[in-house]
């Protein structure tokens, strides 16, 4: 007897009866590629040959956020799964329409909250593209350096939480110990640990001073040592490999057709990274590799993310060397498109007026202008499609967030997997629900 036939959702649930009914109805009617047990015809139900519908609700110990999965199980095998997201939906796209471009910056921090600097840079670049603002060189190098540090921070949390969910709790503690070093750097350079908002449209808000540079340089020396230690522990670890090899295999065609992005795409052998596909900031002037694997399983993605961390260190070192010698402004010098410096605001009339006007109205891209700009966030391709109506607030912002597109693939990966692998699968796809639910 199906769960739809035996349950009167309006009676059993006080809240969202139509929503839950829709989910379970979809679960029943879904055509899965897993062979289902043939149903008996009226004979007494044998518990060993029965399917169970399990709801792995929005609140669960796997720390990847509020994701709900309704699964139909045959023993331990997941036959069909339906993912329900939206538990963190805010209506960011609607909020964006009532804020100016600069006012929206703090909202982008809270999207992928593991690497907030990347989101800031993505938004700034998208606005700069639609308004045609040129960013000075020093600002671009600073943004690139901090974005790569944010990438390391996001991958560190992936590693810590993924391994903790799999059972190895110590890795969580080590990862967070290093993340605290990164937070100290962000605190010094940008003023805040997590929600930085350091990028401004047209550049960055403050320059990186010597203390900040010294802290970053020290990090580039201590991090590889710790990283080598984890590699030594995990790369040939029998338990970790057994838990990951062959789990969540995504073939090349599937990855492209389902629109996976980021390390999920590169784990299946597709060489697609926005830093090489559509170079932004100064990525075409630094030397780094893009890790690529062919197998498409969870272990391949693990290797890719670990290697990406070391590639980011490489980029950060090159940025540090460049920033020693490259001096210059850190924000565009156009009062209509970016904030004047604080000196100008305090000591000149025009500066004060420009500051006020910029906060009040802000950048006004040409009416009817619409463009899309993507970056390679740690999770994948993060892009903003902005349509402007000539005023200081956008007419439409569409956020193409990597976690949203990756979660579609997760639904496919779950089918055929064992229950125990579910945590590994969620970890390997690495969703951030704040970003996926906008």
């Amino acid at each position: 007897m199906s769960i739809i036939q035996t349950t009167d959702f309006k009676e059993t649930l006080k809240f969202w009866p139509r929503h839950n009914e829709a989910i379970y109805r979809r679960l029943e009617s879904k055509h899965s590629w897993i062979e289902e047990n043939p149903h008996g015809d009226g004979s007494p139900v044998d518990p060993l040959h029965n399917e169970m519908v399990l709801n792995i609700g929005p609140q669960h110990p796997a720390t990847h956020g509020v994701l709900r999965c309704a699964v139909q199980l045959d023993g331990e095998t997941i036959q069909k799964s339906v993912l329900d997201i939206g538990y963190l939906h805010r209506g960011m796209e609607k909020l964006a329409e009532s804020k100016t471009y600069q006012e929206f910056m703090p909202y982008t921090d809270r999207m992928d909250y593991l690497s907030p600097y990347s989101n800031n840079v993505a938004w700034c670049l998208a606005v700069e593209k639609v308004a045609g603002i040129e960013v000075p060189e020093r600002a671009q190098w600073i943004r690139m350096m901090m974005s790569e540090l944010a990438r390391i921070s996001a991958h560190l949390l992936w590693m810590g939480v993924g391994l903790m969910d799999a059972g190895a709790v110590s890795v969580f503690l080590w990862a967070f110990q290093l993340r605290e070093d990164l937070y100290a750097i962000f605190d010094e350079v940008a003023g805040a640990r997590l929600t930085v908002s350091h990028s401004r449209i047209g550049g960055v808000v403050t320059d990186v001073d010597d203390t900040g540079m010294a802290m970053i340089r020290e990090f580039t020396e201590t991090f590889p040592v710790a990283h080598a230690g984890w590699i030594k522990l995990l790369n040939r670890n029998r338990i970790w490999i057994d838990r990951n090899v062959g789990i969540g295999v995504m073939t090349k065609e599937d990855a492209i057709s389902r629109g996976m992005t980021g390390p999920n795409l590169r784990g299946s052998g597709i060489q697609h990274d926005i830093r090489r596909f559509e170079p932004y900031l100064k990525y075409d002037e630094v030397d780094f590799n893009i890790p690529l694997r062919e197998e498409g399983d969870a272990l391949a993605r693990y290797f890719i993310r670990m290697e990406e961390m070391m590639e980011s260190i490489k980029i950060v070192r090159q940025c540090l060397d460049k920033l020693q010698t490259l001096k210059g402004p850190i924000r565009a010098n156009d009062a209509k498109h970016s904030y004047p410096s604080k000196d100008e605001v305090y000591y000149s009339m025009e500066g004060l007026i420009h500051d006020f006007m910029y906060t009040d109205t802000g950048t006004c891209p040409p009416k009817g202008g619409a463009s899309y700009h993507a970056i390679e966030a740690p999770k994948g391709e993060l892009g903003f499609y902005i349509e402007s109506d000539g005023t200081g607030s956008p007419a439409r912002v569409k956020m193409n967030t990597p976690s949203f597109t990756n979660l579609q693939g997760l639904e496919h990966l779950l089918e055929g997997a064992l229950m125990g692998d579910m945590v590994i699968l969620i970890g390997t796809v690495d969703p951030v629900l704040g970003e996926s639910d906008k």
Binding site: P58, G65, L88, L194
Partner: protein, 193 residues
């Protein structure tokens, strides 16, 4: 020793209270309702640098039956609110709630259709932590506030309000003076009916 029944407030019960409250406050088991960015700071608060284990709250229990402190960390959407309330109802008494961050306290920067403007609209919150996200030290301060609150409770003696329904308390509105400054006028509007 009191002349009344053994359950009313007396020397023995206050001593027992002190012990029970000491035990409860130093072994709070948080149920981390970690929803978004504040959850990352909550993980940092459990991590080595701002170690919360030294306050006794090392055991983060994800099952509501085993926890007594719920930390709502992150913005609560209307869809998620019912789940949180359900989890809260499953927690056994005595239980406390921390609304961590601006979003859980008042809706924060998210003044829009999807976000509940403050988790106290459906949960009885004990401590609010401001910040977006609050530093782990702020969350430790909130934990210490809860510990202080617990130490002042009547756990055993029945003189407290434990178990009774609280009637709805109307908020105190400031008195509005007339232009001459003499009388108090009753302003109209939604909140003054």
């Amino acid at each position: 020793m009191a002349n009344d029944s053994s359950l009313s407030e007396g020397f023995l019960t206050t001593r027992v209270d002190a012990v029970v409250n000491w035990a409860r406050s130093n072994s709070l088991m948080p149920m981390p309702m970690g929803l978004s960015c504040c959850a990352i700071e909550m993980m940092a608060f459990a991590a080595p640098k701002y170690d919360v284990a030294r306050f006794g709250s090392e055991a983060m229990r994800f099952s509501p039956r085993q926890a007594d402190l719920m930390i709502v960390a992150g913005w609560v959407s209307y869809k998620m609110a019912h789940t949180i309330r359900r989890v809260w109802d499953q927690m056994a008494d005595p239980k406390w709630c921390i609304a961590m961050g601006a979003c859980a306290s008042t809706g924060g920067m998210h003044r829009c259709y999807g976000v509940v403007q403050g988790v106290d609209n459906f949960l009885p919150v004990d401590v609010y932590v401001p910040g977006c996200p609050p530093r782990p030290e702020a969350l430790i301060h909130a934990l210490m506030d809860i510990q202080e609150k617990i130490r002042n409770e009547y756990s055993v003696g029945q003189d407290g309000d434990f178990g009774t329904d609280h009637p709805a308390i109307a908020p105190v509105r400031p008195k509005v003076l007339s232009p001459s400054g003499d009388d108090v006028i009753t302003p109209g509007g939604l909140y003054n009916q």
